[in-house]
């Protein structure tokens, strides 16, 4: 196997900073803004979600992102997906990014599962023809049976998640960003999802970035891994090393809680 430096990157993150102001009030209102003109400190505080993060992900590999809540993991994925603009620094991606940041983005609960496959695919940036080509594969993988023709509001959250993952995994992902999205679905489906991720990497040269608290999953699937701590890269390296260091620091025992819990 080639070392990381010899393999072409699929994702290149270079000294990325992301900061934004959040208002303390729930919604920004006119009154709040006028009041805020007098006292700016009351109005907003600056959140530095990422503070100079750099790493690269070799093409065709699974890469883990771990860290505590609020470490900037989701922000990082949103920046790579082009959803949040970096405040400073630079992100380069080689290939189509398919984000799976939240389940069923673009799905409409009033429509049937079948109609939502098309909608989900179009949301991800595919053409209708590309979606139709993979329709059967998506349907089969989701394994929803007759429910595929029922409105999605009748679905359980597990069924919802299965369809969402199937859509993302089958529609020609080149770089897939997965944010805890597999938490829905039963054990069998989780297992199936993991196998699918491995298959995508090996056979279709897809690159996968996975944010997870399921440390055993990161260890099992990922080659490389980055550990974020309050917006900084705490450690980067092979998944085994980084996960072990993280578990030492956080005093986590390798129990079932870290296994398949939140893939």
């Amino acid at each position: 196997m080639l070392s990381d430096s010899e393999r072409a990157p699929a994702v290149y993150v270079d000294d990325v900073w992301v900061s934004f102001r959040v208002t303390r009030e729930k919604n920004q209102t006119l009154k709040g803004t006028i009041a805020g003109l007098r006292d700016r400190s009351k109005r907003a505080m600056l959140i530095e979600a990422l503070r100079g993060v750099s790493f690269q992900v070799p093409a065709g590999s699974v890469y883990g992102v771990i860290g505590r809540n609020g470490a900037g993991k989701s922000t990082l994925l949103r920046t790579i997906a082009g959803i949040l603009p970096p405040t400073a620094g630079r992100v380069a991606v080689w290939g189509r990014v398919t984000p799976l940041l939240s389940l069923g983005v673009g799905f409409n609960r009033e429509l049937t599962g079948r109609e939502n496959i098309l909608l989900g695919g179009l949301t991800a940036g595919l053409t209708a023809a590309e979606v139709y080509d993979r329709f059967d594969a998506v349907e089969q993988f989701a394994g929803l049976g007759d429910a595929i023709d029922f409105p999605m509001r009748t679905y359980s959250s597990g069924m919802f998640g299965r369809l969402a993952f199937s859509v993302a995994a089958h529609l020609q992902p080149e770089i897939m960003l997965i944010d805890e999205a597999l938490a829905a679905g039963d054990a069998a489906f989780k297992q199936k999802s993991m196998e699918k991720i491995a298959e995508l990497c090996e056979q279709e040269h897809c690159t996968v970035l996975i944010v997870s608290h399921g440390l055993e999953v990161v260890k099992a699937l990922a080659e490389g891994c980055v550990w974020l701590d309050r917006g900084l890269v705490r450690m980067e390296g092979t998944a085994d090393d980084v996960v072990s260091a993280y578990m030492d620091e956080e005093h986590i025992e390798a129990t079932s809680a870290t296994a398949l819990e939140d893939v």
Binding site: I83, P86, G89, V91, V97, L101, N108, T123
Partner: protein, 283 residues
């Protein structure tokens, strides 16, 4: 296989000072999203009246009932008489209410489109202008059947038909461009100042009263014309009124209507594009 990668051009996300995105790739991306816009609009349409008994008939019934209410209102204020005069008033109310419903409903939906599309904005990457555009496409879907209904009524009420009606699509396109401009202005405003949600219904209500909907352009007292003609919808409505009476529209009205429409459109699109990178942060 990895060796093929460096030859591909990467997509780069960098910090840029707030300002317009690179327009050429932006509109190329938007072009590739046509089917997406179309489907989102259809989805909205399908889902909207999903649970009511007569479902999508409401799209027509709603403005029709509104026109009926305004007709009652008018007869109370001032008797409309009988025969041809009454028929002309009914026909005017119908198209005027239908067009105004299109403008105000679309503007309202477009203004809310970013707030309602929060989940999409936070979790998927696409040109954000897709969302207000979807509202406009959905508005057109809702509007077209009402135009058909109008012509059925106009025929039954013995209204004049003439070749001047060929200008109708042109005026409607002008009105649509203005509506899109308003959506592009109000949608970001809604993100940055949530209060806009509360004001908008009152703005549209006042707008209804100053637009020749409940009355015709020719009924406006001479002394009021210098004020009312500054209403952005005034020239379009004046032109529509001529067309529906089978007269060719005055070029002055068309020019004024286009000026308003493209003015709103360009200001709107610049305001929208300049701000769109911030939407994900502010939602």
């Amino acid at each position: 296989m990895a060796a093929t990668q460096p030859y591909r051009i990467p997509t780069v996300y960098e910090s840029t000072a707030s300002g317009l995105p690179a327009l050429r790739p932006y509109f190329a991306e938007l072009r590739s999203r046509r089917r997406f816009i179309w489907h989102l609009a259809r989805t909205d349409l399908k889902a909207e009246h999903y649970d009511s008994a007569i479902g999508q008939l409401w799209v027509i019934l709603d403005p029709l009932l509104l026109a009926a209410v305004y007709f009652l209102l008018r007869t109370v204020v001032k008797p409309v008489g009988t025969g041809a005069n009454r028929n002309a008033i009914i026909a005017h109310l119908l198209w005027a209410v239908f067009v105004f419903t299109f403008v105000s409903n679309t503007m309202m939906a477009g203004a809310r489109s970013l707030l309602n599309g929060r989940g999409l904005i936070l979790n998927a990457s696409f040109p954000r202008i897709v969302l207000p555009l979807t509202s406009v496409v959905k508005g057109i879907f809702d509007f077209l059947p009402t135009m058909f209904i109008y012509f059925v009524f106009a025929f039954a009420l013995g209204q004049p038909f003439g070749s001047a009606l060929l200008m109708l699509p042109v005026i409607l396109v002008i009105i649509t461009i203005m509506t899109l401009g308003l959506c592009l202005l109000f949608a970001p405003a809604m993100v940055f100042f949530r209060d806009t949600v509360g004001f908008l219904p009152y703005i549209t209500r006042i707008w209804l009263y100053v637009t020749p909907v409940l009355y015709t352009v020719r009924e406006i007292p001479k002394s009021l014309v210098p004020y009312l003609r500054w209403n952005p919808l005034y020239p379009s409505y004046a032109a529509l009124e001529q067309v529906f009476r089978a007269h060719w529209p005055s070029p002055a009205y068309l020019v004024a209507a286009s000026a308003w429409a493209f003015g709103f459109f360009f200001v709107g699109i610049i305001a929208f594009l300049a701000r769109e990178r911030d939407f994900a942060v502010r939602l």
